[in-house]
C-alpha cells in the first residue's frame, strides 16, 4: 500500500505542482492517475520513487516513510516504465532488461538468463535479445521497457504514460498485454495517463486530477461514469458531450439479437445483445476483463 498524506510540491521557480494531496493506493491493484498536462500527475508518480521529493507531507510504502530510505535502493526496488521506453541505446535488449538485477549484484550470466524469460513474459521473441533498441519497432521497445520494469520482481510498478508515443493499434495491444500481466503477476501498479479511455480500461481505481493535483474524483471506472462528481469530471470523461450516454438506434434494423448503440450525438459506438427486446446485463469484474484465449498462452511460454 502506498499512502500520500498532505503532500505538496513547490518547484524553485514558484510553480505549485502539487498542493495538499492525500491518497491511498491499494496493493495489488491498478491505480490510474489521469489528468491533462499541468495536473501534476507525473510529479506525483515520481514522488513514489523519490525522483522528486515533496516540499512537505509524508509518503509511505507499507507504513514506512520513503523519505527515510536511500533513493537509489528505493528505486531499484520499484519498477519504472516510461514514455519512449527510456531504454539505453547502447545496451542490447537482453542487457537493458538485466540492468536492475545487475545493479543489485546478480551475476550478469544469471541476470541475462532471467531477462530471456522476461522477454517471454512480455510476449517478445528471444531472437530479439541481441539487438539494440534502435533495431526494434516502437511497440517492441515498449515491451522491453515493461520487461525491464519487471526484472527485479518489484511489488510496485510505476508506469509514466508508457504507451503515449505508439500508434493506436499497438497501444491497444500493449494495453491488453498490461491487463494480462497484471492478472498474472498481481503487482501494485500506478499508471499515469492523459487518456481517460485508457484510464477506464486499465484502472481498478481511477483518480481524476485537476490543476495542482487536486483530486476531482476518485473511484472505480463504473462509479465515475455513473456519477461524475462535478462539471470538470463530466467534461473530462466526455459525459457533457453525451459521449458516455448511449441509446439503442431505432433506425437500424436488429441483426440477430444485436442492436446498434449510438451516443447522444447520434454517432454509432457499438452493439448490445437484446434477445427478445430485453437488453443483456452482466456483472463484469476487473480481473476478468475481456482478453482472448490466445493471449493467455504467452504467459506460459
Amino acid at each position: 500500500m502506498i499512502e500520500f498524506r498532505s503532500v505538496a510540491k513547490r518547484f524553485p521557480d514558484g510553480t505549485i505542482a502539487v498542493d495538499d494531496f492525500s491518497l491511498v493506493i491499494p496493493s495489488r491493484k491498478t491505480t490510474v492517475l489521469v489528468g491533462s498536462s499541468g495536473s501534476g500527475k507525473t510529479t506525483l508518480l515520481r514522488m513514489i520513487n523519490r525522483m522528486v521529493d515533496p516540499s512537505s507531507g509524508v509518503i509511505e510504502i507499507d507504513g514506512e516513510s520513503i523519505l527515510d530510505r536511500n533513493p537509489v535502493a528505493l528505486r531499484r526496488s520499484i519498477g519504472y516504465v516510461m514514455q519512449n521506453s527510456g531504454l539505453l541505446p547502447h545496451f542490447k535488449v537482453v542487457d537493458n532488461v538485466a540492468t536492475v538485477p545487475v545493479l543489485n549484484g546478480v551475476p550478469r550470466k544469471v541476470a541475462r538468463a532471467q531477462a530471456l524469460e522476461l522477454l517471454d513474459t512480455v510476449g517478445l521473441s528471444r531472437d530479439l535479445a541481441n539487438r539494440y533498441p534502435a533495431e526494434l519497432s516502437g511497440g517492441q521497445q515498449q515491451r522491453v521497457g515493461v520487461a525491464r520494469g519487471l526484472a527485479a520482481n518489484p511489488n510496485i510498478l510505476l508506469m509514466d504514460e508508457p504507451f503515449g508515443a505508439v500508434d493506436p493499434i499497438v497501444r491497444a495491444e500493449l494495453q491488453q498485454e498490461t491487463i494480462r500481466l497484471q492478472r498474472d503477476l498481481d503487482k501494485t501498479v500506478v499508471f499515469v495517463t492523459h487518456d481517460i479511455d485508457e484510464a477506464f480500461l486499465l484502472g481498478d481505481q481511477v483518480v481524476i486530477l485537476e490543476k495542482g493535483a487536486k483530486i476531482a474524483q476518485l473511484g472505480t471506472p463504473g462509479e465515475i461514469l455513473a456519477n461524475p462528481a462535478n462539471e470538470f469530471v463530466a467534461s473530462f470523461i466526455g459525459a457533457d458531450r453525451g459521449k458516455r450516454r448511449l441509446i439503442v438506434d431505432a433506425n437500424v434494423a436488429p441483426r440477430g439479437d444485436d442492436r446498434v448503440l449510438v451516443d447522444a450525438g447520434g454517432y454509432p459506438v457499438g452493439l448490445i445483445a437484446a434477445p427478445d427486446g430485453r437488453l443483456a446485463t452482466g456483472s463484469p469484474s476487473p480481473k476478468s476483463r475481456s482478453i482472448s484465449n490466445k493471449t493467455d498462452q504467452a504467459g506460459d511460454a
Binding site: L87, L88, P89, L103
Partner: protein, 233 residues
C-alpha cells in the same frame, strides 16, 4: 628518394620518437578533459571558468610555452617533458569544450530513465553518460590527435620535435627533399593515429553503426513478436 633510402634508419627512429612524444599528450589530455568536461557541462560556474581558460591557454604561442615551461617546472630546456606538458595543455584546452559538448549531447530522457531504475550517480556516469558521450568525445579526440601530431614538429626548435628535426635540418641545408619526407611522414603518422582512433571507436561503440548507416536501421517487423502471443495481440 635516394636520400630517404640512405637515411631510412633516421627517419624511422624520428617517426617512433614523434609517435611516442605525441601519444602521451593525446592520452593524458583525453583523460584530464573527461572530469573537467563533465564539470563544465554539469555546473554553470565550472563552465564559466573552464571554457574561457581553455580558449586562453590555446592562444599562447607554442614556442613561448616550450621555452617558458622549464622555468615553471624546473626542468632543463632540452628535457622532452617540457614538450609533452605543453602539448598536454593544448590537448586539454581543445578537449574540455568538446567533452562538455559531448556530455551535453546525451539524451536527457535516457539519463532520467537510468536514474529512475536505480543507477547511482557513479554507475550512471560509467554505464550511461560516458559511453553515450563517446561519439562526440571521439570526434573531438580526432581533432586533438591530428593537431598534436602536427604541433609537435615545432618543438624541434627546442630539440624534441621528432620528425620536425627534418624540417630544420633540411631548411638549414637548403635540401627540400628532406623537408618533403618530414611532411609526408607526419601526414602518414597523423593518418595512422586517426585510423587507430576510428577503429577503436567502432569496436567500443558497436551500437553507433546503426545510426551511421540508416539502411541497417530497419526495425524488425512486429511479426517477430512471439507467435502464440502475437496472434492475439
Amino acid at each position: 628518394m635516394v636520400w630517404l633510402w640512405n637515411n631510412l634508419g633516421l627517419v624511422l627512429s624520428l617517426t617512433l620518437e614523434h609517435a611516442r612524444l605525441s601519444a602521451v599528450p593525446i592520452v593524458v589530455g583525453f583523460a584530464a578533459s573527461i572530469p573537467l568536461g563533465w564539470l563544465a557541462n554539469r555546473y554553470r560556474i565550472a563552465r564559466g571558468i573552464l571554457l574561457p581558460t581553455g580558449s586562453i591557454l590555446f592562444t599562447i604561442p607554442s614556442i613561448a610555452l616550450f621555452v617558458s615551461l622549464p622555468l615553471v617546472l624546473g626542468t632543463k630546456i632540452l628535457d622532452p617533458t617540457n614538450v609533452v606538458v605543453a602539448l598536454t595543455i593544448y590537448a586539454v584546452a581543445i578537449m574540455v569544450r568538446g567533452a562538455a559538448d559531448a556530455f551535453g549531447s546525451v539524451s536527457a530522457d535516457v539519463q532520467l530513465s537510468a536514474t529512475a531504475i536505480g543507477n547511482s550517480p557513479w554507475t550512471r556516469f560509467w554505464s550511461v553518460q560516458f559511453p553515450l558521450a563517446g561519439p562526440v568525445l571521439l570526434a573531438n579526440l580526432r581533432v586533438v590527435s591530428v593537431s598534436t601530431v602536427s604541433l609537435l614538429s615545432v618543438a624541434a626548435l627546442v630539440g624534441n620535435g621528432g620528425l620536425g628535426y627534418l624540417f630544420i635540418n633540411g631548411y638549414q641545408r637548403d635540401f627540400p627533399e628532406e623537408v618533403l619526407v618530414g611532411i609526408i611522414a607526419i601526414l602518414l603518422l597523423a593518418l595512422l593515429f586517426d585510423l587507430v582512433l576510428v577503429v577503436v571507436g567502432r569496436l567500443l561503440m558497436p551500437w553507433e553503426r546503426l545510426r551511421r548507416r540508416p539502411s541497417r536501421l530497419k526495425p524488425v517487423h512486429d511479426s517477430a513478436v512471439h507467435d502464440s502471443a502475437g496472434a492475439a495481440l
